[in-house]
């Protein structure tokens, strides 16, 4: 009898262990079900955002403002947003969505939208926009395009970004250049860069005027300033004459200053958001940077005498152009509270809230309409330049097709090859096309097979009241 009860106890113990192991989540549900829900019990939303430090603080302030206003859902319960600053957000959102436990609101990069929506990870928002009187026409088309895929809306803008030329006025003066006259063409930029570059007695670079690879974040996008693009909406165009001109230009810097000297000068291992950043130290005189960069400069190098201007085109007659981007607020497909998440996203779209957020992050507003005091009260003295650049019809963003990440990575490899003078631009770009075209064909083929099915799913998901 004793033996029997001992075995029974063991069996019970093991069964309990298995139950706890497999069903932990459900067990916790059993306990939470005992909570008494009243009309004042808040619906708590989980919001994951990619920003850190002061950029995260800016959004946190908006979240606090939303929570303070005690906005309620359709059942009259108050909505509370819990903000989480998350690194490597795209991978974490992906895994959480695949695991069926995504946050209610996801602060994504614009490049994620196409991939995630095509794979069924996000909720379409057209129906919600229509119901609440929001329109695509309220936004700059150059920015709102990032929220779209297959002519559906997958997220709403948080803050946009654009790029321009940052230059060090003090170094301009020291080189005998007029600090109020930044270069207006690529040829002028090259000449100015040479004047601003200094060497020590051993011939090592101690001050660099400009390099297309510094900071090197948008290397594949350089064709934009030569009137080209790498993706024309249907084809890979990295070998178009304009793009080739851009790649030749990049390689000309590697030839002119030599890789050995540029590598010895070295910038890559220096943290970007620190006073060791070579631009902030005054070791690099000019670089392509985003609107947000000024806030970093003010914190890390407050005494830097800075000028900002549109980045020059190869031919000034072509006008100005920039690369645009946008942070996007989306609702993952299996979010627990999609309606309440939409309430928060909608709140951020309110002109006063959006302008508050953009001011806090030193950005321009993605809305077409801006309040009269938006620019006068804006902490970024050059913000209008970025807005005007973003409004340029030639402005472009990250190539918008499903294998853009693979394409971008391959372009980066090709650029590194030509930067190291291992291949000519023509050879490097031929390799990119040879590698990417079959991947694109396969992806298109698969998409053609599942497109209709996906469209039906989206119709179903967007059909709500």
């Amino acid at each position: 009898m004793k033996k029997f009860s001992s075995t029974l106890a063991w069996i019970c113990g093991i069964l309990l262990f298995v139950y706890l192991l497999v069903d932990t989540m459900k067990l916790s549900d059993v306990f939470t079900k005992h909570e008494v829900v009243t009309k004042e019990t808040p619906i708590v939303l989980e919001y994951w955002e990619k920003w850190q430090n002061f950029e995260a603080d800016a959004m946190r302030a908006i979240v606090d403002r939303f929570n303070a206003e005690k906005i309620r859902n359709k059942d009259g319960r108050p909505i509370q947003v819990h903000f989480f600053s998350v690194t490597e957000i795209d991978q974490k959102i992906l895994l959480a969505t695949a695991g069926g436990i995504p946050p209610d609101i996801a602060g994504l990069f614009d490049r994620n939208i196409m991939t995630y929506s095509e794979r069924g990870a996000l909720l379409p928002l057209d129906g919600r926009m229509k119901r609440d009187g929001l329109s695509r026409d309220d936004y700059l088309p150059q920015i709102f395009m990032f929220c779209l895929h297959e002519d559906r809306v997958w997220g709403m803008p948080a803050v946009p970004e654009a790029l321009a030329l940052y230059y060090n006025k003090k170094l301009f003066r020291e080189a005998g250049l007029d600090p109020d006259k930044p270069p207006t063409s690529i040829a002028e930029l090259d000449a100015v860069a040479e004047k601003l570059t200094k060497y020590d007695e051993k011939g090592n670079i101690v001050q660099l005027g400009f390099s297309p690879c510094e900071p090197g974040w948008w290397l594949p996008q350089w064709p934009m300033w030569f009137g080209g693009t790498n993706w024309d909406g249907e084809h890979l165009t990295c070998d178009s004459p304009q793009s080739m001109q851009a790649w030749d230009w990049i390689q000309s810097y590697a030839k002119k200053y030599t890789i050995k000297k540029l590598n010895h000068f070295g910038t890559k291992t220096v943290p970007f958001a620190s006073s060791q950043n070579y631009f902030m130290q005054g070791k690099v005189a000019m670089e392509l940077q985003g609107d947000y960069f000024l806030q970093f400069v003010k914190i890390c190098a407050p005494n830097l005498e800075l000028g900002i201007a549109p980045f020059p085109m190869v031919d000034p007659a072509m006008g100005c152009v920039t690369q645009t981007g946008c942070s996007i607020l989306s609702i993952p497909k299996s979010a627990k509270h999609p309606d309440e998440a939409w309430e928060f996203i909608k709140y951020v779209q309110r002109q006063d809230v959006m302008e508050d957020l953009c001011r806090r992050q030193w950005r321009f507003s993605p809305l077409k309409k801006t309040s009269p005091d938006f620019y006068t009260n804006h902490p970024h003295p050059y913000i209008k330049i970025f807005r005007e650049l973003a409004e340029s019809p030639r402005s472009q963003g990250w190539p918008r097709f499903s294998i853009a990440t693979e394409y971008d990575d391959e372009l980066l490899q090709a650029i590194e090859t030509l930067w190291q003078l291992q291949e000519t631009p023509a050879e490097a770009m031929k390799k990119v096309k040879t590698r990417i075209q079959p991947i694109l064909d396969r992806r298109n083929e698969r998409w053609a097979k599942i497109k209709q099915l996906r469209q039906k799913e989206w119709d179903r998901e967007d059909n709500w009241q």
Partner: protein, 293 residues
């Protein structure tokens, strides 16, 4: 089978049940699913669509895959013997009757406790071309240091040197083996006139051969799966010269969402390691001495 034997088996199974369940849930099931996904087009968010052997066919014409394969083998060929020799040498030194032996042992083991991320960042700074400590030391003896992490020639050796930082773990295992070698053997050898090298060659190495074999297998697995340090230090560059197998697998799975393709890579890696372990086992069968066996 007697009643007691039956009861013992049941009890044994009950005791091992938590492990069996854990193994089935967290090792066996994912392994089986990986093999299944390797025959599908799977992006993690959609249902997998069967594609037969397509992923495997694509892999063997994928230039980057072949490059990562060769990078990994070259790295393993450099890091494994170098790491084993250095850690064995250190273990032999630390096994000598020197002053403050426990202190030295602790000092050599400590670096292996440093988190890999911190280690990678630290070495990134040490390897800097213009103001890194390593090149500064070389400069002091009149040698111009190379662009360690920016050159295709030096990036892999730089990672091998970085890997040595964590050899403390292998040193501890070797030390445990060395302490098992009976002193009498050395005394007898000395009486017979054997010098230090002969003692190492004919006594130490044969008697710790199971430990060497263990470290060889573990080192093999470790070097073929290298990920964290190059991921942080070079991110595969320059020109993909440090893009290793696991990094490309990760890239395919989590950057491009090609889970099926990544699973096919994982299956190949599994068989590669299994085959290598088998080969190592076959080769070393004659050369390993198990005292009690």
């Amino acid at each position: 089978m007697t009643k007691t034997e039956k009861s013992n088996i049941i009890k044994g199974l009950l005791f091992t049940m938590p492990w069996i369940i854990g193994m089935c849930l967290f090792t066996l099931y994912p392994t089986i699913m990986s093999v299944y996904y390797s025959f599908t087009d799977y992006s993690l968010l959609n249902a997998p669509a069967p594609v037969g052997l397509q992923n495997y066919k694509d892999l063997f014409v994928d230039e980057v895959f072949l490059k990562t394969l060769s990078n990994t083998w070259i790295y393993a060929a450099m890091a494994l013997p170098f790491g084993m020799i250095v850690s064995l040498f250190l273990a032999i030194l630390l096994n000598q009757g020197i002053i403050a032996r426990p202190l030295f042992r602790t000092i050599f083991f400590l670096p292996s406790l440093v988190p890999l991320v911190a280690l990678a960042i630290l070495w990134n700074w040490l390897f800097r071309t213009n103001d890194g400590a390593i090149n500064a030391l070389l400069e002091m003896v009149g040698v111009t240091g190379p662009d360690w992490l920016g050159s295709t020639l030096w990036a892999k050796p730089a990672l091998v040197i970085t890997g040595l930082w964590g050899c403390g773990q292998a040193v501890v295992i070797y030390l445990a083996g060395l302490q098992e070698v009976p002193r009498d053997f050395y005394d007898a050898a000395r009486v017979d006139g054997a010098n230090w090298y002969q003692q190492i060659r004919h006594i130490t190495l044969p008697l710790i051969s199971p430990v060497i074999y263990f470290n060889l297998i573990m080192g093999c697995i470790g070097t073929l799966q290298i990920f964290a340090v190059p991921f942080i230090m070079t991110n595969g560059g320059p020109l993909r010269s440090t893009l290793f197998y696991s990094m490309y697998l990760f890239q395919q799975a989590f950057r491009y969402l090609n889970m099926g393709y990544a699973c096919a890579m994982a299956v190949i890696l599994f068989f590669m390691i299994a085959a290598l372990t088998w080969v190592a086992h076959m080769i070393s069968r004659k050369h390993i001495y198990y005292g009690g066996a």
